[in-house]
């Protein structure tokens, strides 16, 4: 049912229309507004504005990346950036609070990197040089703050309950102190409140100071405004001889907000600890041709390095000796290992699988993997974090509250009040402007969301995920390793002879090529070859290095080990005395075996689809064909359908060519496939997709890391590399694709929860501020109302977010 074209409300029986304006409207008002919108002249593009945009990209100087501890909101970014550029020698800076990183362009002659870091370690922030190997550890909040503050807070409340609240009820206080007694009591309260405010509340006050310096209000400023004005008001009242002191408000606000943040950080740290140490993908040592170990940093261009099977190539270079299959999935995203021969380029970061090779290091001695890391850091630090909802609210709230307070002061003066009276009215408005509920609203809801995600095995690294994920318009999914399992398995088999698989496996056992492993695994999982089959069951029952699982059925073919030769494209050797060849069709042709038409056709089809055909033949002809491919995950179709729910576009990105991605393009919910992307290409694709709206990216390999950072939301499927986990906003730790749609529902639920909490907190304000402005408030009422709204927020955050699967 469509609604009014402008305001979406229900259309009446005869909607308002006009020839000059397209659409149907619920009333003439909406029609006129729509007409005005059409008429408004197009925005004039300001050429000066375009120039201003690329500050960091254009600045001249050396670039360094820093890890900065202590950034927690968009205001901190503004503050650090302006602090950095205020220094001579620093040309430009970009900070991102979501990733705790900063990119600084500086003059190498004037400053060293440690000096730059020093200059930026101000106002409680700590900047250090960023390195790949250390994982970002969230600073552990000191419990001392909270415990000390809690103790004094309790003392304050005890004094209040005993002495001050009863007076507002009309009861006589428990103990009559007289004039001296009042001062004695209140100065104790003042002392307790000072400790809580300036010791426990120091981070809040620091955040408020940063906010004022940066000219950008945030939640800290709002909270500090209320706490400090309560404190000042109460100190003034103590001196002036009254009993209406609001130390309880100061203490309550500081403790509640600090406790809420502490709780949220604790939940996040617990979730992040679920990310077991995924080994770093960077290579520190290399081996020279003679076998000596050298540090990678000491290698000069032209040096020859030996890389053995199972090891990672340290630097980009050209192959000079040896032929091997190199698994470059981590770096390029191609699922099938590539054969590298002398003369071919070998990519730094690829894993050599079956034979040793010697490479000559290239001209600039870099590693493609390092370049990816550099790209990742550049993307991460240049994208500012999202301004959180609570901070946006604070930006609106702070000026409004200050304005209302000023008005209240003015009105009191105008209607004949004393200046102290007017000041006190203004301070009262400031006092009630931030209930603890406002400070609790976000941390509690976010903590609930993080915990719920962790139950599903999803680690939420960046809480702004909850605010941006529900707004996603486009979902980009990497193919290899995300939609597919990333491992080579036999997907089809076509045999003339039942023994084909056993013979093939018997020979393939001698090769460590991933395709060979797949054949051996297939053989061990079930005896006779089948055309269909449950790949998962087969995979599950076999050791991945091709070792024979104990208890496999059938007789083991006898192989004369000495006579087996492992070629780049297959294995040749005698099985049961017959010369058997298994591998690429060309290998069989070279060995003089006939390949019947149907095998040849099937093999051609497989190659066209981006898979690898493995033929096995003996006694002069080919007798079996196995198609080995990167197998799609069983649930990928359902997951894609669930993800595209709600009008989202689903786009598949892959480094493989179009043929390999064809089966994915056929799915009705996949809108587009970008194939053949080079390693940097994914970032460019994401940037282009961002023109359509908000983009979420799902990926797994190291080559996905920059794209994960470039997207508005990055979700990493844990697969053994730490790089994508660092780049992403959420990590699915058990390596499955299926939980991802739940994450979307969870994020929407958490965002709704944050908004509900904020509305409850604001309702308190709606009642309390007018009362304060009219001079009708007293500490008891303020405390009761604050307690009520905080309780509501706590209870609301405790509700179940999303039903358990």
């Amino acid at each position: 049912m469509s609604g009014c074209t402008l305001c979406d409300l229900a259309l009446p029986a005869d909607p308002a229309t006009d020839a000059a304006v397209a659409g149907e409207y619920c009333c003439r008002g909406c029609l006129e507004v729509a007409r005005t919108l059409d008429d408004a002249d197009p925005a004039e593009t300001d050429p000066a504005a375009v120039e201003r945009e690329t500050a960091v990209a254009d600045a001249e100087g050396a670039v360094t990346y820093l890890s900065v501890d202590g950034m927690h909101c968009s205001t901190c970014e503004v503050f650090l950036e302006s602090t950095a550029t205020d220094h001579d020698g620093i040309a430009a800076a970009a900070a991102s609070y979501a990733t705790d990183t900063m990119q600084v362009v500086y003059d190498e002659d004037a400053l060293t990197v440690p000096e730059v870091a020093d200059r930026l370690s101000v106002a409680g922030y700590e900047a250090t040089q960023r390195s790949v190997t250390d994982r970002q550890e969230a600073a552990s909040p000191t419990a001392a703050f909270l415990v000390g503050g809690g103790f004094f807070g309790m003392m304050t409340m005890l004094w209040y309950v005993l002495f001050i609240y009863p007076q507002h009820f009309g009861f006589a206080p428990v103990v009559e102190f007289g004039a001296f007694g009042r001062l004695y009591l209140l100065s104790q309260l003042w002392l307790f409140a000072s400790i809580v405010l300036f010791y426990t509340g120091f981070p809040l006050l620091r955040g408020a100071y940063v906010s004022l310096r940066a000219g950008q209000p945030n939640m800290d400023l709002l909270v500090s405004l209320a706490a400090v004005s309560a404190y000042l008001y109460s100190s003034a009242i103590t001196v002036l001889g009254g009993i209406d002191v609001y130390f309880d408000v100061t203490v309550a606000i500081v403790l509640a907000v600090t406790a809420g943040n502490y709780y949220e950080r604790g939940v996040k740290r617990q979730a992040v600890s679920l990310l077991s140490d995924l080994g770093g993908a960077r290579v520190e040592e290399a081996r020279t041709r003679d076998g000596d170990r050298v540090s990678v940093d000491a290698v000069t261009p032209g040096t020859e390095l030996l890389v053995r099977p199972g090891e990672r190539i340290p630097l980009d270079g050209t192959v000079v000796e040896g032929v091997a299959a190199v698994d470059e999935a981590l770096v390029t995203g191609e699922s099938v290992p590539v054969t590298r021969r002398p003369g071919d380029q070998a990519v730094g970061g690829g894993v050599v699988t079956d034979a040793p090779i010697v490479i000559e290091v290239g001209a600039d001695a870099t590693s493609t993997l390092d370049r990816i890391v550099g790209l990742l850091w550049s993307v991460q630090s240049a994208r500012p974090g999202v301004q959180r909802l609570a901070d946006r609210l604070a930006t609106v709230f702070v000026p409004v509250v200050v304005a209302v307070a000023a008005l209240a002061v003015g009105a009191t003066l105008v209607t004949g009040g004393t200046s102290t009276g007017a000041l006190l009215v203004g301070l009262t408005v400031l006092v009630v402007s931030c209930p603890c509920a406002l400070g609790l609203a976000t941390p509690l809801a976010v903590a609930a969301g993080v915990q719920r995600a962790a139950e599903d095995g999803i680690v939420v690294a960046s809480e702004t995920l909850f605010e941006t994920l529900p707004e996603t318009d486009v979902i980009a999914i990497d193919k290899t390793g995300t939609l597919t399992s990333g491992r080579m398995t036999v997907t089809q088999a076509l045999v003339d002879d039942e023994a084909a698989i056993e013979r093939a496996a018997a020979l393939e056992r001698y090769s460590t090529h991933p395709v060979a492993d797949a054949v051996v695994a297939h053989a061990a999982a079930d005896g006779p070859a089948r055309d269909d089959g449950d790949a998962a069951a087969r995979r599950a029952s076999v050791a991945s290095d091709g070792g024979r699982a104990a208890g496999s059925e059938g007789t083991t073919p006898t192989v004369d080990t000495a006579a087996v030769t492992v070629e780049p494209t297959g294995v040749v050797g005698p099985v049961h005395g017959d010369r058997t060849v298994v591998g690429h069709p060309d290998l069989l042709a070279a060995a003089g075996m006939a390949v019947p038409d149907r095998f040849e056709q099937r093999a051609a089809e497989a190659t066209a689809a981006g898979a690898v055909p493995v033929l096995v033949g003996w006694d002069g002809r080919c007798r079996g064909l196995f198609v080995v491919a990167d197998e799609p995950r069983a649930t990928w179709g359902d997951t894609v359908t669930a993800l595209s729910d709600g009008d989202r576009d689903v786009v598949v990105l892959t480094g493989d060519d179009e043929a390999a991605a064809a089966s994915f393009a056929d799915h009705p919910d996949v809108d587009e496939v970008f194939a053949g992307l080079p390693p940097d290409g994914k970032v460019a694709a994401i940037r282009r997709l961002r023109d359509r709206g908000r983009v979420a990216m799902i990926g797994d390999g190291a080559n996905d890391a920059p794209a994960l950072a470039a997207a508005d939301v990055g979700i990493a499927i844990a697969g053994g590399a730490s790089l994508p986990a660092d780049a992403a906003d959420a990590v699915v730790t058990d390596g499955r694709l299926a939980p991802v749609p739940t994450l979307f529902g969870l994020a929407a639920g958490t965002r709704r929860r944050v908004r509900q909490n904020l509305v409850w907190a604001l309702c308190y304000n709606a009642v309390a501020i007018p009362l304060a402005a009219l001079g009708l408030l007293n500490p008891l009422f303020a405390a009761l109302a604050m307690a009520a709204s905080s309780t509501l927020v706590v209870l609301n955050s405790g509700r179940r977010l999303v039903p358990r699967n």
Binding site: E32, V33, A49, P384, L393, P399, V400
Partner: protein, 266 residues
């Protein structure tokens, strides 16, 4: 007939102010739906030449501009309300000397009251705006088009400066199905000050919703807005009751009636 405590007296005296404020608060949601896109366009132009990286952020300057816009809107409503009150007052005075003065005033009150109550019932039942004669006044529509045409041609130059107040004031001429019953009431009240005051209070009531939702939280869902429209309908029914009861009183039908100024029979 009303229990006479201080609170009720205050309430009675300013019942219409209170009702207008409540209507304003509830109408905030409506304004969001109808004027929201227009305000978003202004906001977009405001941030168009900002740093690409930070375009999504709101700053204190944004808040100031939005604040000025809303104050301009309120001032515009108050001005129109005052004018209509003046016109209404003039009509009342012009007919004061005729023998049927009381009947005229009575019937005007009854008709206006019934119209406003009808609008309120329409909101209550449909949860959305009502079409029909009320909102189809061609003259005002054209007036709005003329003025906004002049302004929107200069939107870019206006949104960044304090002149955005002018853009806000123009919204008072918008054929808005909430403003029309309010303007009718101002006409019936017959006093420019009161007319300006009630419309000003209405405008003030819409500000919190627009500021908070527009700047911070984003749009309201259709479901929420429909509910708020129904609640607003109730407030309109209560509001329409005032001139209706007063008009009936002038015809000699006595109904329970709060102590609203300017309605006291002489």
């Amino acid at each position: 007939m009303w229990p006479s405590t201080v609170a009720v007296d205050t309430l009675g005296r300013d019942a219409d102010l209170l009702l207008f404020f409540v209507i304003g608060i509830l109408a905030g949601a409506h304004c969001l739906g109808m004027c929201g896109p227009l305000v978003s366009t202004y906001a977009e132009r405001l941030t168009a030449d900002r740093d690409q990286r930070r375009r999504d952020r709101i700053t204190v300057a944004d808040v100031r501009q939005h604040g000025l816009f809303n104050l301009g809107r309120t001032a515009g409503y108050a001005a129109v309300g005052g004018m209509l009150g003046l016109v209404g007052g003039l009509v009342v005075e012009a007919t004061a000397i005729t023998p049927v003065a009381s009947a005229i005033r009575g019937s005007v009150g009854v008709v206006a009251g019934l119209l406003i109550v009808a609008v309120g019932i329409g909101y209550l039942l449909r949860g959305t705006t009502v079409t029909g004669g009320l909102t189809g006044l061609p003259l005002v529509g054209r007036g709005f088009r003329l003025v906004t045409g002049v302004l929107t041609a200069r939107v870019d130059r206006l949104v960044g400066s304090p002149k955005i107040v002018g853009l806000g004031a123009v919204h008072a001429l918008l054929p808005c199905p909430i403003l029309y019953p309010a303007y009718l009431y101002a006409l019936v009240v017959g006093d420019p000050l009161r007319g300006a005051l009630v419309l000003g209070v209405l405008g003030l009531g819409t500000i919190p919703a627009l500021l908070v939702y527009g700047l911070a939280i984003g749009s309201l869902s259709v479901g929420h807005r429909t509910t708020l429209h129904r609640a607003m309908g109730v407030a309109f029914v209560a509001l329409g009751y005032l001139p209706l009861a007063h008009g009936l009183m002038l015809f000699g039908v006595a109904l329970p009636y709060p102590n609203v100024p300017f309605y006291q029979p002489l």
